[in-house]
């Protein structure tokens, strides 16, 4: 393997890691701040992809589909928090798992009823459909670079909102002591509702952005769910910064594992998780 191929593989790794981060960031927020184990997070990713597919064919433009889809996802998040999740904060984790597992089944069945079980493709917007030639046989699709760009922008935005704004301060405060925030006269329920909607929107956005590159198919949500939990656990529960580190680390280990140790590549990510948990049981970044 020459130096040039290594560089390209590095690019693959970073690009995969960034996409993982986008899905996992919502999971870590909901998990860390609200203490909810949300197994249905993968379903939000799937819903995003299917929203992109149906709205893009309705409006004829992926941009409109993403804008509309984000609004709808936020609305879905607000509704679910109001109708279901707000009743589960004080309950046992096992009951939360039951609720969110039930949601997976409901969303999958609804998807099957409304849109069927076929595999669909979403067209890459014309402006981003080119490929940049890297070697004489390999070129890199511009859309993949665009995806990485969007992920970086969102990550930066998320960091700024949580660390530098009043709402962010409320979110952080709510995460460490719910009762104290309430007794200071802040509406913690509203904060939770917003965080949940944000989490849903992030997962759904990841699905929408990934749809043109990965196509849209039944069961796509469960595939990302497991690896997202690995990201959250390695990164440290509730830490957005940790999720970013962990996602990039997994991207690297997975990609170079496939290149250098193809026979055990499926195992490496989980091995990494085990080693990190032995070394730092609370994950890479401990919440303060």
């Amino acid at each position: 393997m020459d130096f040039y191929s290594l560089l390209i593989q590095l690019l693959n790794a970073v690009q995969y890691g960034l996409l993982l981060f986008l899905v996992a960031s919502g999971l870590t927020l909901i998990f860390g701040i609200m203490g909810i184990i949300n197994l249905a997070h993968g379903s939000f990713y799937m819903i995003g992809a299917y929203l992109a597919f149906s709205l893009a064919s309705l409006t004829g433009s992926l941009l409109w589909a993403v804008l509309l889809g984000t609004v709808l996802s936020v609305a879905l998040g607000l509704f679910l928090e109001w109708a279901l999740f707000s009743r589960f904060y004080k309950r046992d984790h096992l009951e939360q798992v039951l609720l969110t597992y039930g949601l997976i089944l409901v969303f999958e069945e609804l998807r099957s009823l409304l849109l069927g079980n076929d595999v669909h493709g979403v067209a890459v917007p014309a402006a981003l459909s080119a490929s940049i030639p890297l070697t004489d046989t390999l070129s890199y699709p511009v859309y993949r670079l665009f995806m990485s760009g969007v992920c970086l922008v969102l990550a930066a935005g998320l960091y700024l909102v949580i660390q530098r704004t009043r709402v962010g301060m409320m979110i952080r405060a709510g995460a460490s002591n719910r009762e104290m925030v309430q007794s200071l006269g802040l509406n913690i329920n509203l904060v939770y509702r917003l965080v949940f909607a944000l989490g849903v929107a992030l997962a759904s956005l990841a699905g929408m952005i990934a749809a043109p590159a990965s196509s849209v198919y039944p069961g796509m949500g469960t595939q990302v769910l497991i690896i997202c939990f690995v990201v959250v656990v390695i990164g440290g529960i509730g830490s957005v910064w940790g999720a970013m580190l962990a996602a990039l680390l997994i991207g690297l280990v997975d990609t170079f594992g496939k290149v250098f140790l193809p026979s055990v590549s499926g195992l490496l990510v989980y091995l990494l998780m085990a080693v990190i948990l032995l070394w730092r049981p609370e994950g890479l970044v401990k919440r303060t």
């Binding site: 995969y16 079980n117 493709g121 499926g266």
Partner: protein, 391 residues
């Protein structure tokens, strides 16, 4: 004269009286109980439905009866879940006492069904699952298959690649039985004819992050790539392959599953890809035309390769039951008739190998628009070697 008439009347009545019990007995003849164990929920729902439609169409074309006996269907949704397979098969065999079991799509479930059939002696017709073992080590006189083995399409493509002058290849698939059987068969044919497989790559099922493998393919620069993926994975793979700019330099080949039922999603990226399978679009034979028309009329949708396999399962059962005139207790004759059946299939003529797997043409198909157009025969009347079958 009067006497004559009444005599005739008496004679007629007597004859009728004599015939009546026979006729009544025929009407009372128990129905043949057919157990359909197929996926009616989950990812493979449409496959299960199309196989069922095809099967029932074949029976309907025999007037709904085989050897004078009506057919009664028992259905179980196998959910494509191997863990539930023994239970589900038991429901049909022990509870419903079916005479013949038809199923299924998922190879893991079908393997469990084959084991049950082998133990209980129930007649089994497999209308899809391509695991080599079903007509290999697990083969039995009462187990038949009307679909394919992964070996057949892979081997045929190995031959075809040599004909096209390819010298080197890379194979890439999911790390599971179907994928490995397919690429191994390709390698067997390709290397026997002097080709060289540079690298065999495999990705854990059902992961779809292909980018690092595509980068490796670009670095290895083989003459061609042979890949098995299916469903959602196939859509993403074919699109990623094209987006990585590989398609223009290193042609992609595969078994038919790479582009079957997925062209809607693959679109432009799939155009021109060559695949091998026992069926395709635009087969120029009258049986296929008649079948397609009848299927469209009966169900309002176009048939696919799974409909054909279901239809041929019905035809194969008909060939056996008709030969023993409905008396399925004559097992030896029934099985012998099925073994030697010459099925006039929409895919072209089909017979069965010694291990009860179809012997038929494997076609070379090219993706044109939304169709897998048949452009030639990659291997005529190709029989699976049935390795491990002691029958």
């Amino acid at each position: 004269m009067r006497l004559h008439t009444s005599f005739r009347r008496i004679l007629g009545a007597a004859a009728a009286a004599l015939l009546l019990p026979a006729a009544a007995a025929r009407a009372d003849q128990p129905k043949i109980r057919v157990g359909l164990m197929l996926p009616y929920s989950g990812t493979y729902t449409s496959l299960g439905v199309n196989i069922t439609n095809g099967f029932k169409l074949a029976i309907a074309e025999h007037g709904g009866k085989l050897g004078g006996r009506a057919i009664e269907y028992f259905t179980v949704d196998d959910e494509s879940d191997p863990a539930k397979a023994p239970d589900n098969a038991n429901k049909l065999i022990k509870r419903d006492h079916v005479d013949v079991l038809v199923g299924t799509v998922h190879s893991g479930v079908a393997l469990a069904m084959a084991k049950m059939a082998k133990d209980t002696g129930t007649l089994l017709i497999v209308p899809n699952a391509g695991a080599g073992d079903i007509t290999g080590p697990l083969c039995a006189p009462n187990i038949f298959r009307t679909s394919f083995t992964m070996w057949q399409s892979g081997y045929a493509m190995g031959k075809e690649a040599l004909r096209e002058g390819k010298k080197t290849a890379v194979t890439f698939t999911w790390k599971y039985a179907a994928g490995e059987e397919s690429v191994d068969a390709f390698k067997e044919a390709f290397e026997a004819g002097g080709g060289k497989v540079l690298k065999m790559m495999a990705l854990p099922f059902p992961q779809v992050e292909f980018q690092s493998y595509l980068t490796e393919i670009a670095a290895l620069k083989p003459d061609m790539v042979y890949s098995f993926f299916s469903g959602g994975g196939a859509v993403k793979y074919v699109k990623d392959y094209a987006a990585a700019g590989l398609k223009a330099h290193i042609p992609l080949y595969g078994p038919g599953f790479l582009t079957d039922g997925t062209l809607e999603g693959q679109g432009e990226a799939a155009q021109g890809i060559l695949t091998t399978l026992h069926y395709g679009d635009g087969l120029d034979n009258p049986k296929d035309k008649a079948f397609r028309a009848a299927y469209l009329k009966a169900y309002g949708s176009e048939p696919d390769v799974f409909s054909v396999q279901g239809y041929d399962s019905g035809q194969l059962l008909a060939a056996g039951v008709e030969a023993v005139k409905g008396d399925i207790s004559k097992r030896k004759e029934l099985i012998a008739a099925m073994e030697h059946a010459k099925i006039d299939s929409p895919r072209g003529p089909m017979t069965l190998s010694r291990s009860h797997n179809p012997v038929n043409n494997i076609y070379l198909r090219k993706v044109v628009g939304k169709e897998n157009k048949v452009i030639g025969i990659a291997a005529p009347a190709l029989a699976d070697p049935g390795r491990g079958c002691k029958m």
